[in-house]
Amino acid sequence: MPHHCDMSLNVESLVESTLTAPRPLRLIDDTGRAAPPDEAGGLALPDPATLLSLYRRMVVARRFDVQVTALTRQGRLATYPSALGQEACEIAAVAALGTEDWLFPTYRDSIALLTRGVPPEQILASFRGDWHSGYDQNAHRIAAQATPLATQALHAVGLATASKLKRDSTVALTLLGDGATSEGDAHEAFNFAAVWQAPVVFLVQNNQFAISVPLDKQMRCRTIADKAIGYGMPGYFVDGNDVAAMYAVTSAAVENARGGHGPTLIEGLTYRMEAHTNSDDPSRYRDAGDLEVWRRRDPITRLDTYLGAVGALSDAERADIRAEAEDLAADTRECMTRSAPVDPLELFDHVYATPHPALVEQRAFLEAELAEHAAAASSTSGTAEAGGTR
């Protein structure tokens, strides 16, 4: 009668492997050189074609992110949480997933959506204030970006468990912030996933801040990956600015999940290079000097150096990628000139599958009010403007 359950994988060795990584795993170091084997933890460097594709997607994603931040500064979006500097985590997460898999992102992960194929206009709908979520979740297999922290991790575990119950091969991957791991929901998600052996991957982007709160006020453990031990699942502490390592670890975790071996917790150690959102002021709480340190660890620069050195990235390819990025930026700017057609009456349409009778009444009320205002406006000024004054 063992006091704890039998486990399909050997927890002793699991605990040890998690603990034997006091330094983050990496394959390509800050300077763009292949990391020594003792830092690679047995991971193999992805082939150059894969790395090139990761590189391309990071460059494009960053251009998008920078563009949207600029548009937000111009007041064209209500808010935008940038992922500048976190491209390696974001792109590796998406690259590790198959089309049948589901992604559960947060507000921070717009570039993951972009990389998985959501058009800019649809990504930005929520940040422009059009709709709460602007894309087709089912078509892309991407849940609506989550705002209430860590709540989406449970949705990912539930979806993954449903996939397992149906004997499907779908895996769920959820992105989380370092701060979000403090929420009760993160704990419950980790625990349910481990107990149910759900095919789910938790990728914590440890960008070292939760708005203004630094990591040492958030937790005291050695690494976030160490938390995996308390749930009996594997944990990996990875250099979150090394897309090669992030991709290798995340792909392995996804395939491990797909193979029926349960969840994995991955910590990508990175840094939030921008403010929390445009309405934040980081000068109040962090040292500008840190930015410099982390700029030297930039995920794109280092891969550029590496790929250049191994002859896998020519200037022509660089130009081609840059052109693709600029096209996307132009598209992004262009889509801002179009106003999404927001219809006030749609307010009532999606609350229930079958609207409650009171909503039918309220819809009719608003419809009448809009008609009245339109009539009043056209009779006084000739131009119809819907909506009440406040």
Binding site: S133, G158, A162, H350, Y352, H356
Partner: protein, 337 residues
């Protein structure tokens, strides 16, 4: 919401069932009819739930469809959301009202809002069963009435059966609904019995029913207070007062038509609930009936409810809960004309 489909199986011979057994049969039949229905929560597996509502289901459907989850309500609701996103129809249990509170964020910020957030693309056909309210001599935190929290949340559908037939029919309908349903099961009524021929179909779960006709005053009740209302009507008859009793069944949506018609007929009404009065669901009932029927009312709509205090300890429960005596006294306060 459409009433649940008739099962292929023919109507079975009448049996005497408690409400708990009727609920059990509803889940069982739904699981037999639809392989996407899954059940989980605390102690719902081999134990069959602390109220035995899920008795025998683990044995019949096995671990993959009936399971004991880790002890975490937010986890239960949160994972149910993910399952529903993937096409399952989860039925989950919160062990008592007060233990649904850890799941509050998941219910209010996600269950209620997912369809709207995704413009109808992601629906959550899930049922959150909550053994509801008091009058069972329970220790603290075991007798809360949580309905005001759910009914104040757009996007939720909130129902409560008061008898075994409704328990069966409404739970089946809730399980087949594409909208998430908060299903409040009055604890004090789990052991009332009725003779039923399953699968029984009662009126759609979003409608109120007139359980007893009357001419002088309408008593509006739901869940555990329905029996109080009926007992009051019986007593009142002796005093020459004719009480119409309405069982709301659906708290959200509210059946304005049925209840409004009754109130316009009697011109007087009172709403009953166990929950505290201040900010309670009865306020909505009184406010909307008054708004819509003001010029038909001969008196204000009364609320006869628990006091504005935390649910009391068992020995003081009887002073807290609305009793026929108290209701009749309150009705007597009106000046009849």
């Amino acid at each position: 919401m459409t009433p649940h489909e008739t099962t292929v199986a023919p109507v079975r011979a009448p049996v005497i069932l408690t409400m708990a057994a009727a609920l059990n049969a509803a889940i069982q039949d739904a699981m037999r009819d639809d392989p996407t229905v899954v059940l989980f929560g605390e102690d719902v597996g081999p134990l069959g739930g602390v109220f035995r509502v899920t008795d025998g289901l683990y044995a019949e459907f096995g671990e993959s469809r009936v399971s004991d989850s880790p002890l975490a309500e937010s986890g239960i609701v949160g994972t149910a959301i993910g399952m529903a996103m993937y096409g399952l129809r989860p039925v989950v249990e919160m062990q008592f009202d007060a233990f649904s509170y850890p799941a509050f964020e998941q219910i209010v910020s996600h269950v209620a809002k997912m369809r709207n957030r995704t413009r109808g693309r992601v629906q959550l056909p899930l049922v959150i069963r909550i053994p509801y309210a008091g009058d069972i001599g329970g220790v603290e935190h075991h007798s809360d009435s949580s309905e005001a929290y759910w009914t104040a949340t757009p996007g939720l559908t909130v129902v409560s059966p008061s008898n075994p037939a409704d328990a069966y029919s409404m739970l089946r309908e809730a399980i087949s609904s594409d909208d998430p349903v908060i299903f409040l099961e009055p604890k004090s009524r789990y052991w009332v019995k009725a003779e039923l021929s399953l699968p029984v179909h009662t009126p759609p779960m979003n409608t109120a029913v007139v359980l007893r006709e009357g001419t002088d005053v309408t008593l509006i009740a739901y869940g555990p207070t329905v029996k109080t209302a009926l007992a009051t009507a019986e007593l009142a008859m002796a005093e020459g007062l004719s009480i119409e009793v309405i069982d709301l069944r659906s708290l959200s949506p509210f059946d304005d038509e049925t209840v409004g018609a009754s109130v316009r007929k009697t011109s007087r009404a009172a709403v009953l609930h166990e929950a505290a009065q201040f900010g309670g669901y009865g306020a909505e009932v009184a406010a909307r009936l008054t708004e819509r029927n003001f010029f038909h009312l001969a008196a204000p709509i009364l609320r006869i409810t628990g006091f504005d205090i935390p649910y009391p300890s068992p020995k003081l429960e009887e002073y807290f809960l609305p009793s026929p005596d108290r209701i009749l006294a309150a009705l007597g306060m009106w000046e009849w004309n």
